[in-house]
Symmetry: C2
Subunit: 203 residues, 2 copies
């Protein structure tokens, strides 16, 4: 296996944290998105969407999409479990992971893509829409603060892929997107401190 | 089990088609989103996101998010298989389902939500952003036409959840969002005719 990665980008980080939590050692090839290395004819043959992360399997096929890559690795290496041990747990972890992805990560990412100069000329940017998405993300974090009251982790009594999705979303918000960590959210803050202190968060 | 549904809406339809393909008989309760029935205190206790579909389990807990509900039903009723028979197949079907969801369904849905009068006053709408999303969805359909060349289904040699996601996205585009079926896409048209002719498509 080989993982096509870009160390700066949030979606590859989701997979890197997942891999670190599993204790796996997968060879990595850096694809510099700033240098448009995912848009070369050679890379587009591997992934026509021109995106990383991308996992090259031992049979030569290519698996794209962060969560699909995680599910593949979870199937090959079930422990430690990050996506659910049985049908019921798998479903509830997926519910929470999707909420964090579609609502939180989605809002943050649409804000970022509609404001960052890096994307200028690659697709149209809309400042008013960006601001609405920023507000939507902060709103979602506020709701999350209630959800995390009395809970250590988002989806289960242990760290799961839902925590990874939310961690990467928040770090995109306060990192590349240069926004302050919203104040007055003690439960989100406590949870973020906890998951950030795991060794995998450095991935 | 009980499924909280809204017959007009696209996300509940994804679950209804899935249920029909499985041949399951799950009692349904209609929640009229036009009448804001998902925003009553009673419903918000079941799903704080105020959304359908929502599955009430026999133990009284509530499972939200279309794909999480589908995964739960797939675990309970593995045949006919719609989400992959083994680790490798599950991963590739998820890759395709996510591409259809994030790229196609996402674009269509953001167009719809930023133009339809139904959403006026519920959240801000941005006409220029909507138009960019409409163009993005048509672009994705154009790419899909290439992907479907020589293929009967999207993700495997049989009908899967990826086909459901794409079918519902296209029908949202040409239905509620009142857009013409893009011309010059013979493979998408053939595929759409095929999947629309299944009994489950009426769900």
């Amino acid at each position: 296996m080989k993982l096509y990665d870009f160390s700066v980008a949030p979606n590859p980080r989701r997979v890197r944290i997942f891999v670190a939590e599993k204790g796996l050692n997968i060879p990595v090839q850096e694809i510099d998105l700033y240098a448009r290395q995912s848009r070369t004819p050679e890379f587009l043959k591997k992934n026509p969407a021109g995106q990383v992360p991308l996992l090259e399997l031992d049979d030569g096929s290519y698996l794209a999409e962060s969560v699909a890559i995680c599910r593949y690795l979870e199937g090959l290496h079930p422990d430690p479990n990050l996506m659910g041990r049985d049908t019921r747990e798998q479903a509830f972890i997926e519910m929470w992971s999707r909420r964090m992805e579609l609502e939180l990560f989605g809002g943050v990412d649409r804000y970022f893509q509609n404001t960052d100069p890096m994307f200028k000329g690659r697709f149209p940017q809309f400042a008013d829409y960006a601001e609405a998405q920023r507000a939507y993300a902060v709103q979602r974090l506020t709701r999350m603060d209630g959800e995390l009251a009395g809970r250590e982790f988002i989806a289960a009594d242990r760290y799961t892929i839902a925590d990874i999705t939310a961690l990467v979303a928040i770090d995109l918000f306060t990192g590349l997107a240069k926004q302050p960590f919203p104040s007055g959210l003690p439960n989100v803050k406590r949870w973020h401190d906890t998951v950030s202190s795991r060794a995998s968060a450095k991935a």
